[in-house]
Symmetry: C2
Subunit: 157 residues, 2 copies
DNA sequence: TAACATTGGTTGCGTATGCAACTAATTCTT
DNA sequence: AAGAATTAGTTGCATACGCAACCAATGTTA
């Protein structure tokens, strides 16, 4: 009887999603290191977001990247020290730090893109466009199923 | 041109898998805390594995759960201190610690299962069995696409 | 306007994670 | 059998993560 429930967990989506995500992260991280970029996956994602939208504050970034504001604060501190990112206190509201990507950050990001793109190509090998879309739809459904329930740190990405 | 590549990344599977996994983890963690279990998701997964197979050594567990042996060592130290797990040095090979789940560990695990099962039910709401199987197959394909390439810490789960 | 509430950001804490360097035990080689 | 290589586990280090408590600035309300 207990065994049934355990089997249920195994045949559910959750462990598959989790495990696959872990593997993807691992390869991405590995690729980023091997090519001499001292970027972590998280730092790459941050730069990507900043490339799309500059001048957000820390909370907004945390929200968009689905992390706690404290995590974001520390990530930004590291990135600022490395010179990839600039923190600028707002004049109107002195509580707010607006975040901008620097030239160095842009450069690093551009150099990193092909590496990431390569991993993505590998990982999607032999998967059709239809399958991809189908899968993304199911993933969206999983997300919205969970979004309905309790409260998350913040919003979506 | 750069924008194209960025768009490529966004429409690929990787970010969807990652984000969904993050959300699932978050809910699982939250549910485990809310019900007064002081278990983390990792600790739950460890107990689950031990329920299925007792007496493995640390490296084997690390391998099965897809983590570095140092991470596993520390997780086990915590679980041992809590009394969920017992570490027993092998007589034949004194390097090896065989890991056993304790009665307390079993009890905790059993009480936790319904909580996890509930999250799984929520997350799979409105997803058909066929869709589920289809999705798991694609996830398997992603995993094997990546497994072919460089080297991972260890083996599969 | 003074008191209270809210908001953005920081910090301490506990956990998790992988890598590299290390020790002790075991196995392989010569 | 002695020396070399391998293996299991540990530890230091850096990063990441969320929560809770906190501070300072802004907003709200009485």
């Amino acid at each position: 009887m207990k065994i049934e429930v355990v089997a249920d967990i195994d045949s559910s989506l959750a462990p598959w999603i989790g495990k696959t995500s872990k593997i993807v992260d691992y390869y991405l991280q590995d690729a980023l290191q091997q090519h001499g970029f001292k970027l972590t996956k998280e730092q790459f994602v941050l730069l990507k977001k900043l490339t799309e939208k500059d001048g957000l504050n820390q909370n907004e970034l945390a929200s968009l990247l689905y992390r706690d504001k404290s995590t974001m604060a520390r990530l930004l501190a590291k990135m600022e020290k490395k010179g990839h990112v600039r923190r600028e206190q707002s004049h109107k509201d002195k509580r707010i730090n607006k975040i901008y990507i620097t030239e160095k950050g842009k450069l690093t990001f551009d150099k990193t893109i092909p590496v990431v793109a390569r991993i993505i190509n590998i990982l999607e090998h032999d998967i059709t466009q239809t399958e991809k879309e189908h899968m993304i739809n199911i993933l969206k459904k999983v997300q919205s199923n969970l979004k309905l329930k309790p409260a998350l740190p913040q919003e979506r990405s």
